[in-house]
């Protein structure tokens, strides 16, 4: 299936999605999707048997600060059955950086989206576990943003041992387990 048929058939399936195809140098079909239609497009991509994009290879973001819209979310998906690769991109404004999660469509998106939230501060609405993934939970700022200060020295803070009782720890773990379903 070539690029134009793929995008035309997707457009038919989700009429509201403003699909916009862009040329790519690495032979992976690339298209932009409007933010609000992303979950609908994702579902069609996974479930239609002539597409069958069952593998989510990557979710990441690129910050084009100071340009607006500054963020581009990138989803790289693979259809094993049809040997297709597709790159779906979503443009996001810095003041309005949130998008619906696709972890309901591809469970693998759970941690990948957490990483994007952690490092770029892009929120995923409806995410089952919206915590930081790599950075400590009390970290300030989002390190991979281009306006994040680098090469500054911070005075080291003394770390205190965690002041929790055994009951509190147990309750926290149990709560964690429940919220994560």
């Amino acid at each position: 299936m070539d690029q134009n048929t793929l995008i035309a058939s997707l457009q038919d399936a989700v009429p509201a999605a403003q699909l916009e195809s862009v040329p790519s140098v690495d032979l992976q079909t690339t298209m932009y999707v409007s933010r609000d239609e992303l979950p609908a497009v994702a579902r069609v991509l996974r479930d239609r048997s002539d597409l069958a994009f069952t593998f989510l290879a990557e979710v990441t973001a690129v910050d084009f600060w100071p340009r607006e819209p500054r963020f581009e979310l990138v989803y790289i998906i693979v259809s094993i059955a049809h040997r297709l690769r597709l790159r779906v991109k979503v443009r996001l404004h810095g003041a309005d950086a949130h998008v619906a999660t696709v972890s309901g469509v591809w469970p693998a998106a759970n941690w990948l989206e957490r990483e994007v939230w952690d490092l770029f501060g892009i929120a995923f609405d409806g995410h089952p576990d919206p915590r930081r993934l790599l950075m400590p939970e009390d970290w300030e700022g989002y390190p991979l943003r281009k306006d994040y200060p680098v090469q500054i020295r911070m005075t080291p803070r003394a770390s205190e041992p965690l002041q929790v009782t055994e009951e509190e720890f147990r309750a926290s773990v149990t709560k964690d387990r429940l919220t994560r379903g």
């Binding site: 910050d63 693979v78 693998a108």
Partner: protein
């Protein structure tokens, strides 16, 4: 008889547990010996390599990406070089492609040997580790011969290789390849029908084919569950479609299937190495000739003004890469590996994102250990072959 009241116990496994392959921390809730829930906590090895790359020149990124997944350094740099070369629009010469295939397959054997050794040791077969590290030592010696560096050779460069193959390289690789299949038989003698090993791995850490797909476990874990996907076959690069090799798969999806798949992969890699070695003439072209990207030969630098200028420009300013984005996946030892690189047209990357197969394996870990025994947790972590440097980056 009075009812026996039991309560669950929360155990913090890691980050300093020796069997968690680095700094993986698991918060386990146990009922007796059964794991009720598991919460992997990662990030202890997060060094911000992706952020660091944005301040480096393109060529300087290679040593950094090699240190991400520290057991498969040359797969990382291969994936990075392929992506950047795609952005530059250059294609490396045939001989260079064959050398890269050879190095990638040796790297796969190398990584699988560390996996087999540590995994064997964790389930009680300590002698397997000694055997595996004996063979790995030879591979590291080959790296040393090649580049002067054993773990992170930085031998692959954008546009080709750093320098031509050293004298004696063919003989060293051939000696390894001739001896290795018999060593593989030795490992199999130790494990394949070993009653204890079978008890520890069969039916342990099972993941179904559907789950493997849903959690994007491309690589040996997915192939052990019956997903027939290998980047080398599905989206060939470096001319892998001209090589003769098979993609081993299993169907049960347990730790033992992963062992079988990886052992078979090593045999296939030996086949691939032999074919590549046949194709590579001992001397010849090892990089593209492009004054913008690759430095001129040293004898010309010493004798010609233009070559000296080129040399100076490449080592002081690097090269610029046209604006755009590229992602060229390769089949690393742990599954699909690739670097999504974005350039703004300057001599430094705008964004480098690694696709970490270990991160996704770590995410699926919970699915494989919940409901099992706590003793099996170690066997499962070993069998999915996570490298924390790749998880946290």
């Amino acid at each position: 008889m009075p009812e026996i009241r039991t309560e669950t116990m929360t155990v913090n496994m890691g980050p300093q547990h020796p069997s968690t392959h680095g700094v993986l921390r698991l918060v386990l809730v146990l009922d007796g010996e059964t794991v009720l829930s598991a919460a992997p906590t990662i990030g202890y090895l997060h060094t911000g390599i992706e952020k660091t790359t944005e301040q480096k020149k393109w060529q300087q990124v290679i040593p950094l990406v090699e240190r991400m997944d520290y057991l498969s350094a040359q797969s990382n740099s291969l994936a990075f070089c392929l992506s950047v070369e795609r952005l530059l629009g250059v294609e490396v010469p045939q001989r260079t492609r064959d050398v890269r295939v050879l190095l990638a397959e040796l790297q796969r054997i190398n990584s699988h040997l560390v996996w087999l050794g540590t995994h064997g040791m964790e389930v009680g077969a300590v002698s397997v580790m000694l055997y595996c590290f004996r063979e790995r030592e030879q591979l590291l010696n080959i790296n040393e011969l090649l580049a002067g560096f054993r773990l992170f050779p930085s031998y692959l460069r954008v546009g080709g290789l750093r320098e031509d193959l050293p004298r004696g390289f063919h003989a060293a690789v051939r000696a390894f390849l001739d001896a290795f299949p018999a060593k593989l038989d030795e490992y199999e003698d130790l494990l394949t029908t070993n009653e204890i090993y079978l008890k520890r791995t069969q039916g342990v850490g099972v993941i179904s084919k559907d789950d493997a797909v849903a959690y994007s476990l491309m690589g040996p874990i997915a192939r052990a569950a019956g997903v027939d996907y290998d980047v080398r076959k599905s989206f060939p690069y470096l001319g892998y479609d001209t090589y003769d090799f098979k993609v081993p798969t299993q169907t049960r999806g347990d730790a033992y299937s992963r062992y079988q798949v990886r052992l078979a992969e090593m045999r296939e890699s030996v086949k691939l190495c032999r074919q590549a070695l046949e194709r590579i003439p001992p001397t010849g072209v090892f990089a593209i000739v492009d004054p913008r990207i690759t430095p001129p030969p040293k004898d010309r630098v010493y004798t010609e003004m233009e070559a000296l200028i080129q040399h100076f420009l490449i080592y002081s300013q690097g090269f610029t890469v046209p604006a755009g984005e590229a992602y060229v996946p390769v089949e690393g030892p742990r599954g699909e590996q690739g670097f999504y690189v974005v350039s703004d047209g300057s001599n430094r990357p705008w964004r480098v994102k690694s696709r970490p197969p270990s991160l996704l394996a770590c995410q699926a870990l919970e699915r494989m250990i919940v409901g099992g025994l706590i003793a099996d947790v170690i066997a499962v972590i070993g069998s999915i072959d996570v490298v924390m440097g790749d998880v946290d980056r």
